[in-house]
Structures are given as C-alpha cells and as structure tokens.
C-alpha cells in the first residue's frame, strides 16, 4: 500500500491552490472543492487509525532528510483537525456568503489545515517550525478576514506578537542545532538523553526549552500570553474562531509543546511545574474573566483559555509525577485526562462558536443579555449550544465531565489536594457561567422579540448536528475499551520516549532506499 502520510499535507495544499484559481463568482465550485478536500482528509485520517507509519521526503534517510512520522498522538491530532476542518468547511457554505471572495477564504483555510496536518506529522523541529508558520500566517489572515477595524486590530496584535513567538521558537531550534548538530526529533532526543555535549551546555539546553515553551504558550493562548485571543476570537468570523479554538491553538500550541517537552527534551520536574502553573493560572483567569463578559463570543473565548488551562494542568501533573519517578498509573491518568480534554475541547469549543455564529448571522445578536427567547425561535441551534455547554461545564454524562474528573483524580492521587480543590472550584465557576448563559437563552424574558431575519441554512444545521453527535459520543471515550484503543496509544507516544528514538532505525529499514545518497554529504 502506498504511503498515505504525504497526502495529509498534499491534499489541502493542492486544494488551496486550486481554490485560489477559481473565480470569485464560482462559490458553488469553491464549496465543492473545499468540502471534497476536507472529506478526503477525514477519510484518510480515519484510515490511518491505529497505525504507526513514517515517510521520508525525497527518499533521504532520517537523520539527513526530512520525515513525516505518525504515532498515536499524531493520529489524535489529525482526527481533531479533520473533524474540526470538515465541520467548519460545511458551516462556511452559508455563513461565509455574507463576505466577499469566498474562494480566498477557503484557500487560506485549506492552507491552515495543511500547515496543521504537517505540524502534527513532522518529525523534524525545523520542518515543524515551517509548518507551524504556514498555519499561523494563515490564521493571522483569517482573523482579519472581514477587514473591519476591530478585526484588523486583533489580527495585527496577533501577528506582531505571533511573529515574536515564532522567532523565539526558531531561536530554540537554532540553539539545539548549535549544540547537537541535528534537527530531527528522534535523533535529537537520542542525543539529548545521552547528556549535553559539554557540561556547560546543560543550561543552554534548559534555555532552549524555556524559549520554545514561551513560543508555544503564546500560540496555545495560555495565561500570561493570552492577550491576543479574546480580541481575535470575538471579532473574527465565527467559523474562524471555531477553527482556531478547536484545532489551531491545540495543534501548534499544545501538541507542539508536548512533542518538544516530552520527546525532544525529556520531561523534567521544573518544566512540569511551569506547565502546571501556566495551566492553573489560565484556568482560574479564564473562568473568572469569562464570567463577567457580556458579549457571547468574548465569553466563549475566555472559557477557551480556561479549558486550555485544564489540559496544561493535566500535562503538568503527569510530567511532575513522571519526573519524580513514582508510580506511572497516576501519570498515565493525568496525561490521558489531558488528552481526553483536548478531544473534548476540539468538539465543544467549535460547536459553541458555530452556534454563536448561527445566532449572529440570523439575528445579529452578539450580547448575552439579548439572547432571551432565542431557543424558541432556533431549536436546533440552541439544542446544540446546550449540549456543548453541558460538556464544557462538566455535567455528568458528557465528555467534559470525565476528562475533568480524570485530571482532578490524578492530582488528588499525586498528593496535590490543593490543586484538586482549585480545579473543582473553577469547574463550578464554569458551570455557573454556562448555566446563566443557557438560562438566558431558554427561559429569559424577551425585552424585545428577537428578529429572525432568515432561517438557518441546511449546511449550518448539518455541521452543528454532526458536531453535537460527536460531542455526545466523546463521553464514550470514558469506557476503558474505547479509551485503550484511542487515547492509550497517544499516551504511550507521550510517555515512551525510548520507542520514539528507536523508531529512527526501524523507519529507515522499513523504507529502504534503492540508492544511498549519503556518501556526498559529510558533516
């Protein structure tokens, strides 16, 4: 069977360039091409389930060439991108009709998907930096897509600070290359795990880790580097907010952070504590600041910060436990909880933004206080919103409950009772905020009857219904059998650094080259 990995990058990239060529008037063709490309990615992502695979670009062997590599964690990211990408594309059919040049919107969206897929697959830190840049530059454009003053300001703020964050990440890559002479992740991990080249370089390695962590923290919009996020998410088109919060900040932020911290550097307690602190701060700040927002999408974006905080806190607890060398079940529980929450976040957050977009596009309501009575006019939208709210607030049968529970139990088992109690308290704050929002929508007194200017188009309904079904289905991940099939391989990929390093050799053998190019490049 031919290798499917390069297609994950090639299909959206090709679709992007094709879309740019379609004239502005051909919106139906644009819809068809974009939808086809997203569906193809989704199908390939599903086909790749449970596989580990590698692909060497141009047939160069691994430490020299660039490779794409697939493991459980990458697969989880691919499926997140594919699902969010497909839902967003579907929703954009009708939603983006209010904007001009839909072809360019889809073109940039597809480039962003290509960049994210590449980030998830790349096995080379410099190559990953390039993919991350493709994705984030596309996101700068998408945030400012409407060209209204507010959007432009948000996009400019995001772009200026994002460029600094990217430069910091590249700085980290440069330091690592200076010390170890390689940028391949497996090769680099092998060299770092066998100690620094000279004793004095240990602090340089730590510096590189911190610099890269700062870059990824910015992109995952965690406190204290969250400032771009509420502005960007509340002003950008709702589909863009959905794609960014569901996929982009998780892939180029958290996934890249996990890959770098756990695989490249090997997790240490100090990094674990940094992750935990960032996580707790984001969690608390997001929930508290989100509670007093009056604008719907601004509230949702603050809660997104808070949910990212849960993921980081779970990872932090996991890494502290791993670094202390104690029992691994607790670490496994914390990391699985974090991964589970990533999956949940990738479903409920886009769903919330899409429902907000649906309400906005048909009633022009942006404030929570005006939402009263919308539920009676738009039953499907509000049902989807209710499902997503239950999941984000951690109401028991939904996925969000189980992932939060795992993180809380893990921190209690690890002996950090204070953290467990704080997490519980913040979950309650989140629950109250979303109850208030849903109460307004279902039972609020209408001050002036909401004007429904047009019905919800069928494509929007399908996108929201599909995400709602997935949102309910994520709770199935709490069942041990399903969890061990989906989340365990991802956890293994994070925890088991040795096997990633060992794959360096097996990958080379599995795709043996007809000719050996190695002779001429001596280094």
């Amino acid at each position: 069977m031919t290798n499917l990995l390069p297609l994950m990058v090639a299909i959206p990239l090709a679709a992007g360039f094709v879309l740019a060529l379609i004239p502005r008037t051909g919106t139906r063709t644009c819809n068809a091409v974009a939808c086809g490309a997203s569906a193809a990615i989704l199908v390939i992502a599903l086909l790749l389930f449970g596989k580990t695979d590698a692909y060497q670009m141009g047939g160069w062997e691994i430490p020299i060439g660039i490779n794409l590599s697939l493991d459980g964690l990458s697969w989880l990211m691919l499926i997140i991108i594919a699902v969010v990408g497909f839902a967003v594309t579907l929703f954009s059919f009708a939603y983006m009709d209010t904007y001009t040049s839909k072809n360019r919107y889809y073109c940039i969206l597809m480039l962003m998907v290509a960049g994210m897929n590449g980030t998830a697959l790349s096995g080379d830190i410099f190559n990953r930096f390039v993919y991350v840049e493709i994705a984030v530059i596309a996101s700068y454009i998408l945030v400012g897509f409407g060209c209204e003053a507010d959007e432009l300001e948000a996009a400019l703020k995001y772009a200026v600070l994002g460029a600094i964050a990217s430069a910091l990440t590249l700085f980290g890559v440069a330091i690592l290359y200076a010390l170890y002479g390689t940028v391949n992740i497996a090769h680099l991990a092998e060299k770092i795990s066998s100690g620094p080249p000279v004793a004095a370089a240990a602090s340089s390695v730590f510096f590189a880790a911190v610099v890269m962590l700062a870059g990824f923290t910015y992109k995952s919009a965690a406190v204290p580097l969250h400032i771009w996020q509420p502005d960007a998410f509340s002003t950008a088109p709702a589909t863009v907010s959905a794609a960014l919060s569901g996929a982009l900040i998780q892939i180029v932020g958290i996934y890249a952070m996990i890959r770098t911290m756990f695989i490249v550097f090997g997790i240490t307690a100090s990094i674990g504590w940094i992750l935990l602190c960032i996580g707790m701060l984001s969690m608390a700040f997001g929930a508290v600041a989100g509670a007093k927002q009056s604008e719907l999408r601004r509230m949702l974006s603050y809660h997104s910060i808070s949910q990212i905080g849960y993921i980081l806190a779970g990872l932090g607890i996991g890494s502290i436990v791993i670094a202390s060398g104690e029992d691994s079940p607790v670490a496994a529980l914390a990391i699985i909880g974090a991964l589970f929450h990533m999956v949940n976040h990738a479903v409920f957050q886009p769903l919330l933004f899409l429902t907000a977009g649906s309400i906005e596009s048909s009633t022009k309501i942006r404030q929570i206080k005006n939402l009263a009575g919308v539920a009676r006019k738009k039953p499907l939208t509000s049902a989807a919103s209710l499902i997503a709210s239950c999941s984000i607030a951690g109401v028991p049968p939904f996925g969000g409950f189980f992932s939060k529970m795992m993180i809380i139990i893990a921190s209690a088992l690890a002996g950090y009772y204070l953290i467990a109690i704080t997490v519980v308290a913040i979950s309650i704050v989140t629950l109250v905020a979303f109850m208030r929002f849903q109460y307004k929508m279902f039972f609020g007194q209408e001050i002036e009857p909401a004007k429904i200017e047009k019905k919800t188009p069928i494509s929007m309904k399908v996108a929201m219904a599909a995400l709602s079904v997935i949102c309910i289905a994520t709770s199935l991940l709490a069942i041990p059998a399903v969890r061990s099939a989906v989340l365990e391989p991802a956890k293994e990929a994070i925890v088991d650094r040795e096997s990633y390093i060992n794959r360096l050799n097996t990958d080379n053998q599995s795709t043996a080259n007809p000719t050996n190019y190695k002779t001429e490049t001596g280094k």
């Binding site: 840049e133 530059i137 003053a149 432009l152 300001e153 772009a159 600094i164 700085f171 290359y177 001429e520």
Partner: protein, 120 residues
Amino acid sequence: MVYILATILLIVGLFGVFTQKNLIKIIISVSIIESAVNVFLILVGYRSGGIAPLMTEQHSQAEVFALHSVDPLPQAMILTSIVISLSILALMVAISLRLYHVYGTYDITEIRKARLNSKS
C-alpha cells in the same frame, strides 16, 4: 563572543516592540527580532576561514570538504526563515495600511482613543 551581536539585536527589537507607538516602527522592530534569530542561526554554522559550501576541484572529497567548508544547513534554514519573515512582514504592513485607511493614523494610542470614542 560573536553571539553578542544576535543578543543585542534581539534586545533592541524587543525594546522597540514594547516601547514604540508607531505601527510601522513596531513592524520594523519585529523585523529586527527576526533578523537577530537569523544572524544567530548563520553564526552557528560559521567557521573562521571556512570556504563557501560548494564542492570545487580543490575540495572534491567529502572529508576534505567537511573540514574546510562552513555548515550549509543553517544557510538553507535561514533562507526558509527569511521567506517566512517576509510574508509576515508583508501581511503586517498590509493590515496596518488598512488600519491607516480607517483611522488616518499609525499611532496606536490615537487608534485606541478613536476606538474607545466610537464605542461609547
């Protein structure tokens, strides 16, 4: 020692981003930060007295070449990173031009004032 240049550029750039009021100056500062990283990367591969990484008659053997040439990989990397910086730069300039059309100024404090006025 040569890394001091990269550090100075980085600090100048960061200082510029956080103190300047003019959008164009902020964008220039960002550009300086990116240059600092590029300079650092190119210095990583530098070797004093090294030849350009081209295989010529004199250095046709891989071992001899590796002993004399500067490292070509960082050069390839900064080409990519320069292209990325350029695209971000172009994007930022385009956005600030649009903002100029809306507010008639590049000064961020003026823009903030105008925005607060329009909201209230």
